[in-house]
Symmetry: D2
Subunit: 317 residues, 4 copies
Amino acid sequence: MNLDEHTTTWKQLNDHLSEWVRASKVHTEDGHVASYIPELANAPADILGICIMDAEGNTVAAGDTDYHFTLQSISKVFTLILALMDNGEEMVFSKVGMEPTGDDFNSMLKLELVEPGIPFNPLINAGAIAISSLIAGNTPDEQTQRILQFFRELADNPALDINQDVFKSESDTAHRNRSLAYFLKHNGVLDREVDDVLQVYFNHCSIQVNCTDLARMALVLAHNGVDPIRNQRLIPRRFVQIAKTFMFTCGMYNASGEFAMNVGLPAKSGVSGSILTMVPGRYGIGLVSPALNRKGNSTAGVHLLGKLSQEFDWSLF
Amino acid sequence: MNLDEHTTTWKQLNDHLSEWVRASKVHTEDGHVASYIPELANAPADILGICIMDAEGNTVAAGDTDYHFTLQSISKVFTLILALMDNGEEMVFSKVGMEPTGDDFNSMLKLELVEPGIPFNPLINAGAIAISSLIAGNTPDEQTQRILQFFRELADNPALDINQDVFKSESDTAHRNRSLAYFLKHNGVLDREVDDVLQVYFNHCSIQVNCTDLARMALVLAHNGVDPIRNQRLIPRRFVQIAKTFMFTCGMYNASGEFAMNVGLPAKSGVSGSILTMVPGRYGIGLVSPALNRKGNSTAGVHLLGKLSQEFDWSLF
Amino acid sequence: MNLDEHTTTWKQLNDHLSEWVRASKVHTEDGHVASYIPELANAPADILGICIMDAEGNTVAAGDTDYHFTLQSISKVFTLILALMDNGEEMVFSKVGMEPTGDDFNSMLKLELVEPGIPFNPLINAGAIAISSLIAGNTPDEQTQRILQFFRELADNPALDINQDVFKSESDTAHRNRSLAYFLKHNGVLDREVDDVLQVYFNHCSIQVNCTDLARMALVLAHNGVDPIRNQRLIPRRFVQIAKTFMFTCGMYNASGEFAMNVGLPAKSGVSGSILTMVPGRYGIGLVSPALNRKGNSTAGVHLLGKLSQEFDWSLF
Amino acid sequence: MNLDEHTTTWKQLNDHLSEWVRASKVHTEDGHVASYIPELANAPADILGICIMDAEGNTVAAGDTDYHFTLQSISKVFTLILALMDNGEEMVFSKVGMEPTGDDFNSMLKLELVEPGIPFNPLINAGAIAISSLIAGNTPDEQTQRILQFFRELADNPALDINQDVFKSESDTAHRNRSLAYFLKHNGVLDREVDDVLQVYFNHCSIQVNCTDLARMALVLAHNGVDPIRNQRLIPRRFVQIAKTFMFTCGMYNASGEFAMNVGLPAKSGVSGSILTMVPGRYGIGLVSPALNRKGNSTAGVHLLGKLSQEFDWSLF
């Protein structure tokens, strides 16, 4: 995409984004707000907000952009990067595999079938729990602060913080995650105590953001680890490469393949209805719409990104 | 078996049991003491003790009969019975299945593949944990006391108690059991808190006995729930029937089928190297020999029971 | 059971069997005739017939006793015995396991999870196919004739033969069995060609009998391999012991545990709605009622056997 | 990549490719030639050949470029495309899923765990067999001719043909593939007869090519379906997009994630030791080196592509 393409795209976005958001919004009716933790169940089912940010920090936004939500699984992308920065590739991939697979909420099979008993990849729940244990810090608090600090820097937003109600709600009801974590402990994947690891995990899932924060964080990935606005490298390029590869192959739960075929961009979704994606080399994108499809992704969000990808021929393939 | 048969059998046992124990004892060399919890790993690898008790309380014993050990999985038979007495069949079998399968230490598959997410049967770990949650009592302490009381009555031994070192060792290292318990909680199988349920579970696994206690407890099952010595019904016959059926089909972990074919008696083994079995209508049998085969059963113990079954034609089929 | 008991039982059966059959027959309405092969789907849904035979060949029968049907999975018990007679225990159990598990029509998991890739036991489909390959004979025809000869001898009925329509129907539609057989071939379990093995397998499943034949065959098992009528040993006792053990632990598909708890007799069911069972040392029993429950067993048949077992206290435990 | 970049790259390739091939060739010692069919086992273990083709048909080649081999799994990419051209997206994805997963030679689990019983994706064996059934044609011969015609056009090589020895060898020994195919038939995925479908499948796996043919076929994918040399559209762009997405997420068996992270190009490997890959918008690449790693990919080939990707910064992310 050259500069002319950018100018044309940007104009189109300014002219049409609101209209496309309206068109996608009807698809919220096909989805359901996540109910597995009480705090998420309270989310409004019928909203949709999106923010697109270019390399100079200009944004086009539409819909319910004031809405705040928690990162949930989107945080896994950035804790993976931080774990890589703290430990290097070799160490990290001795604890989690590299192979794509969707996460299946109803099965622990995936965890077991990887030799030698490590999670398939860092984006499924079991993998992300293993990654949480690798963040530097002597205590869960130190680890959490380190994550928060890193996320604030990426979002260029020092006010980013943990939503304590969501944290508490997650922590109180996460029997399946506890089960996974104890199984990882049994398999020798976790060096720290299970409760400590889960405290870190639930904390980073509960970091609260809005669409602009997501777009800002995505922008750094779109530019291979350099924040193009402050012209500052925040992440080694190699680790962004790794993160984007996983986002492309397994960022959208069990619909990752479908999303790759139909939208064709690296992306990560969360059960808050949020999606972080990007146009590599160009834009950071954040959106939220809490009504989810059967696979755990925002119905309206997936629809809107399909529209944008098609309109601007953004698919990587 | 009529009275004459008993007289003959009893004489043979008195004459030959010590010699048969010596012959089986060499098989301890083929096994290994359980190492998954520190307290069990300290058990002597080369001992073998057995006690056989008739309906009047006479015993023939041989080998290391003074050795004390914890019940481990043998306790599952009696907590199942107590849960049935406390809740009835319908309630119990809404929480665990009835279908035979061996327990596999390396897999959680078995738990998941039963619809609707309940453990296959009450003798595999997941099933026994579910059963622990069903024992009457307002607190884990009350439940544990109830179990202890019941076991003391069955063994006719008011001194029966929990080995606190083993309890602590189990509780500290049982990541896989915690994983199973949280998965059960996630599936809605457990009404109580996971930590509380596991406290009860580890407590009943850690009740300390000797071979005579095992033989005494087995005698009650052999006589369909009536203690033939005190001539007192301790368990409704139907619940003994249920317990013996499970012992026959899945009491010996993943070697239950092999044991049923070669020994042919209802039995339950524990990782302490103990086996409780019986000659229905006749004898209670308890033995211990801590060296285990690959399937988790006492090598010398299985050999000795094979010898006895063959010698006296004890197989049910 | 002594002679007086027999006299009482026999009188009761003569007086009440027809009435109990009528009471159980209403349960045919809860089941469905097997539809997976066209020939079976034609079976009448509302019939129930039973025949009980004592050691002198006297019978009590009630219901639709003239109805003819194919053995289906019941044949697996006797091909197992014949394979043991032809090859010995060691050879047979190098090709199939000994561990109980129900057969699950919708899963091939069971086949795979046994090390080293052999079927769990000889009564699940994969195991029975492996067993078919072990029957002596140079060709599928020779093997089939050998099986037929053995079954005729057991049933004391030289007219026993293969229902060619059922054989053809099975053979034409058995994609799942072919899939299993090729997987066994891939795993090195089958020495013969897949098509040849399946020809033998479908042939023995298609042998046509009536309730009297079943009762007669069961009588030989009830008497540990000796035909008590002709006073002739037809099967070594050890192989009957093995067969009865498998019947008790996994003869009723995924409801084997439930049947063992509630009826408590060694039994084998077939999708034709037939059940072969016995009172060890006493009676052979054959019944048929084609309407099946969800687990593949005759609804009315299971009900009737529960009634009889309770009435006469026939449960082994 | 602009024209200057192309000139520089091309010069570098001309200067260094032979040297890089020599450096990678030592890695053939770490692998083993596929032995599962006799004809493949005869392949030379120590060769490595590569051909890179630009949009004008110029090539840089090095190593054992005269070696001929069969496409094996590489053919799956092009039969998928042909099935899409013959049936459209909706039909094809009613028979196979879209979700990434590696193929696991030792497990049939993957096939079963997708609802409703269809293969995970078109590149695993089960998926590719389903795809073979969808190629237009009344008979296996017509279907095979249609595939051959399509492949000849893509390779611009009318001499392309089936290696009959390999076809026969595959067909004679493919018990696992037959097992998969019958399971697909059982699940209702295949409308045609199993033998017919497998005949087509083994035929397209046995099409013989050299590195230049692979590079030529890859070039068409690199240019989104247009043959840039003859300036002719051979495949609708959408179907190339689909094919490249699957190649990126699951083209390298169980090492697809690792390859995506380390090489970052859409690729497909075959057990003949061949790899087809491309630099999108630019080059087609074909290579062969029969010694395979544990995951079924050419050891030297993966090493060489890693070197090239790093040298020229070809990774998509």
